[in-house]
Point group: C2
Chain length 132, copies 2
């Protein structure tokens, strides 16, 4: 967002808590490499206004990302993107991903998305992940 | 489960509420066609004991699945699997799936799963969805 490029959107009408959407959305941008180390995320109050949420919601989201090693909030200069050491996945993390992926696809199919279209999106994402 | 085949497991150590895991896991089994219309799910109290959760948690999960059209709880005969009419996905459902899929993959990568292994799982699931 410091480049004016990455866009974070949340759906206030969704069942998912705004906090979870902010963490999930920012984490996806961070993993996609949309921020460089040293970049500054928008100030809490500004992002809160942009998204239409309470500033505590944004502050809590930043804290979670700090705990995960993505942000440095310590220097009173705002939320600074860190170079984050790669982790080694636990077997539990792999199994958790597998299970949630199944459940997410099942939910989409239950909601009426054709299986072929779900499969298409899975393949498209797989392609994006391996091309970079 | 009436056939002794489908297995529902939940992770009591996970951050995810047990209720969400039960709904998600049962929905995945239902979408996968693991139950026939007319099958009876285990009684609430039995499943609660098997999973190590409060029976209210199972009862609430069954109610959510009833609201989604998967179960009939009305006849006092327990939880009966229904033939559920196919839905037409809203554009919002499609977008929601897309967003959550991205976030889920990003979370797995952040947790240390190699991109290639995430991509592999996505492709494997896409394959299973289109072969049936």
């Amino acid at each position: 967002m410091t480049h004016g490029v990455p866009v974070l959107r949340i759906d206030l009408g969704s069942d998912r808590p705004a906090y979870e959407q902010i963490v999930g959305g920012l984490r996806a941008l961070l993993v996609a490499g949309e921020f460089a180390s040293g970049d500054r995320l928008p100030p809490v109050r500004q992002l809160a206004i942009d998204l239409g949420v309470h500033h505590n919601t944004v502050a809590e989201s930043y804290r979670v990302l700090e705990q995960e090693g993505w942000l440095d909030l310590s220097r009173g200069r705002g939320a600074i993107v860190r170079r984050r050491p790669e982790r080694k996945a636990s077997p539990a993390a792999k199994q958790e991903f597998s299970r949630r992926l199944e459940e997410l696809a099942a939910k989409a199919i239950a909601d009426g998305l054709p299986r072929a279209s779900v499969a298409e999106q899975l393949k498209a994402l797989a392609g994006r992940l391996t091309e970079t």
